[in-house]
Symmetry: C2
Subunit: 423 residues, 2 copies
């Protein structure tokens, strides 16, 4: 499906005006950055880059797109004619997906004519703002869960396509699986799920339900035991499936207390290897609070797909350079600096990050430092070696280990490392 | 594009289990409702129904869908065979799009076999939870804006497809236009937009930019005057376009103060009919605070598309009846009541709503009362007379007028009218 109309009207009117007065062909640099991290968070996670590169290949104006744009008064005939052959032919550099970012980090740099580059604003921001918000929240949950696996199951609480992207962002952040089937198909993310309360309620008894599930899914399945009475539910589950039952799931109540009781009961029934999955309004704080409970797997839903209080990353797409000349809106905010930027993250010899330095000139870096931008698009074509989703996932895992310990705290605070502008 | 994989894995495993033990063909009733309104809001707005009915017609399992489901272990061969011919053939009733809802309102009622109806959970909830959250937030902004027009321009802050749905939900709620072009094409919503700061920065001077815009878009256009100095920007805009300039837009700073200054300056330049558009992090509270400022049009973005602090409506899809027998999960929450429900909104003879009464038996209603559910799907086919988007928009406008005055307050509070369960 084409992506060119996932765009704001004003980009087309700007294009029309710029084509008419000749400024459309000036070489420009646009940058994506966030002025601040949401909710005093300590880091942000770049996500969506892979999706953006996919969407870019579909960013073409078909005849019916142009017909609509003309009828909506968004373009004149000359602009429509120009759009007919539109294809982005410039260059894009950016932070790798799974990279940490901080206020002012030049997350994406788009170079091309004004005409070609201005059109990408909405698509780039929609994807990066959404996916980065989800990945940032998800990463906090992964940190809170420590070594325990997390399943993303929030698709029912967000737009049906945002659900797919959310599953992808959560997986990037370290979640182990998703409930969302389309995310499984589209991105190769492991999918999982067994039953809801409806399945138990459908049957005349809980025992009938568990027997039906066992027959179809085998003893390795997860049985949802809190439809009626949890203690009775666990007893029935083990009675039906035997002590080899894969897992039970508890989806309501005081999960810490219930997990302890369930563990004791399961152990007393000889089901020592039966795992305990908990779900139900878990966010990073609830997950952290369950650290001492005998929980094996967390299922997180609403909080993941809504960014746990920060549903958008607040990134902006700003023109920073026109034909080599730095430009910037007048602002008291020092983050609005003109000129194309690059960034270096400095590390101690131990690998711990110290600071991020943003350059408008030539970046300087030593053996423990890292240039943060990589080539993403060259002359309109996706660059070689853009990391895959699994590689980006590994990258984030390592990046989270690299920031100072304080930076992983869940509480509100300063960015994990300072961002310094080198002039 | 098919919608069948926009579904959680567990729905397929439940189906597989239920097909195997024979319970899949039991006649069931599922209900969508919200246990509470988000953030102590006083009403919710039902939205997404039209999108859901569209998505339902595409809910089919194609061969490659089934291939994926088998490979993911979500279905066995028998289940895949059954899914091959799947098409929902049951009935759906629900609140009309644009109807107000309250805690426990039976927003959607799906009747069919367990097999047919359970599969719709994720799709129904994703669409209704997202769109209702956006429409509810948007309606509060419309109330706050009183008679002034509102433009939705938040697409850059949410998932690229959620952006389209958000524009639709905002329009339903009473917004007058959107910046999102795809929403214009897909749903016939008026689109609008003129220029961003980038357009001014692209040019050597602000005057060049305004001249270029004027030449392309004519004097009725809206000029963005806050790239450098607002007073100078307004002077230049009127100098270039004359006192017939359509509007100026201010996107930053203390909008109330700036609007007063801008109005005075415009009037002094003879541009008495040039309108003032303000934008920049406006939510319902900021809009309300500008009531006394000489603002003509509001542009709202992030707050609309993120539900202004409540990005999901928290609706659930619960099995409430199996072969005529009411069923419910054990819960201390009285809202989890078994049995198929209908609802009546009672009104005074003046038209003011008094209460919402939920029936599991036959509903009783008088001449000033209204049955809240309408037929949406009959035997799998969209019912006649399902309201169009413009009709739903009118419906909401009237519904907002019908609730007691207190219910329109922006502050946290009780639901605008009480919900009563008639047994």
């Amino acid at each position: 499906m084409g992506t060119a109309l996932l765009t704001d009207h004003y980009e087309l009117t700007m294009l029309a005006s710029a084509l008419r007065d000749g400024s459309a062909h000036r070489e420009c640099v646009f940058e994506v950055f966030a002025r601040r991290l949401p909710k005093e968070r300590r880091y942000g996670v770049v996500a969506g880059t892979g999706r953006l590169l996919d969407a870019l290949t579909e960013f073409r104006f078909a005849e019916d797109d142009l017909e609509f744009l003309r009828s909506a008064g968004a373009v004149d005939d000359d602009t429509a004619e120009w759009l007919k052959n539109y294809r982005f032919s410039g260059d894009i550099d950016g932070y790798a997906e799974g990279e940490l970012y901080f206020p002012g980090s030049p997350i994406l740099t788009v170079r091309g004519t004004f005409a070609e580059a201005v059109l990408l604003e909405t698509l780039a921001l929609s994807i990066l703002n959404h996916d980065s918000a989800i990945a940032t929240a998800a990463a906090r949950m992964v940190v809170a869960a420590s070594d325990r696996p997390l399943i993303e199951m929030g698709g029912r609480r967000t737009h049906e396509q945002a659900a797919v992207a959310s599953a992808r962002a959560a997986y990037l952040a370290g979640f182990t699986a998703t409930s969302n089937l389309e995310a499984g198909r589209r991105y190769g993310i492991p999918t999982t799920g067994t039953s809801a309360h409806a399945f138990t309620l459908l049957h005349d008894t809980e025992k009938d339900a568990f027997s039906g599930q066992l027959a179809a899914l085998g003893p390795g399945t997860t049985m949802l035991v809190d439809t009626y009475d949890i203690t009775a539910g666990i007893r029935t589950a083990i009675e039906v499936a035997g002590p080899e039952l894969g897992a039970i799931r508890i989806d309501s109540g005081d999960l810490g207390v219930l997990a302890v009781q369930a563990r004791q009961q399961l152990d007393s029934l000889g089901a020592r290897n039966t795992r305990i999955v908990v779900s139900g309004d878990l966010d990073e704080f609830a997950i952290a609070a369950l650290a001492v409970a005998p929980v094996d797997v967390y299922g997180a839903g609403t909080a993941v797909v809504t960014g746990s209080g920060a549903p958008t990353a607040g990134m902006v797409y700003k023109l920073v350079e026109v034909e080599g000349r730095p430009v910037a809106k007048r602002s008291e905010n020092k983050a609005s600096r003109g000129g194309r930027k690059t960034a270096v993250r400095r590390h101690k010899s131990t690998g711990t990050a110290i600071e991020e330095v943003i350059y408008t000139g030539t970046p300087e870096y030593g053996e423990h430092d890292r240039l943060l931008q990589i080539p993403l698009v060259r002359s309109g074509v996706k660059a070689d070696d853009v990391p895959t989703l699994p590689k980006s996932r590994d990258h984030l895992e390592k990046a989270l280990v690299s920031i100072p310990w304080d930076g992983l705290k869940l509480s509100a605070g300063e960015p994990a490392i300072p961002v310094v502008f080198a002039s």
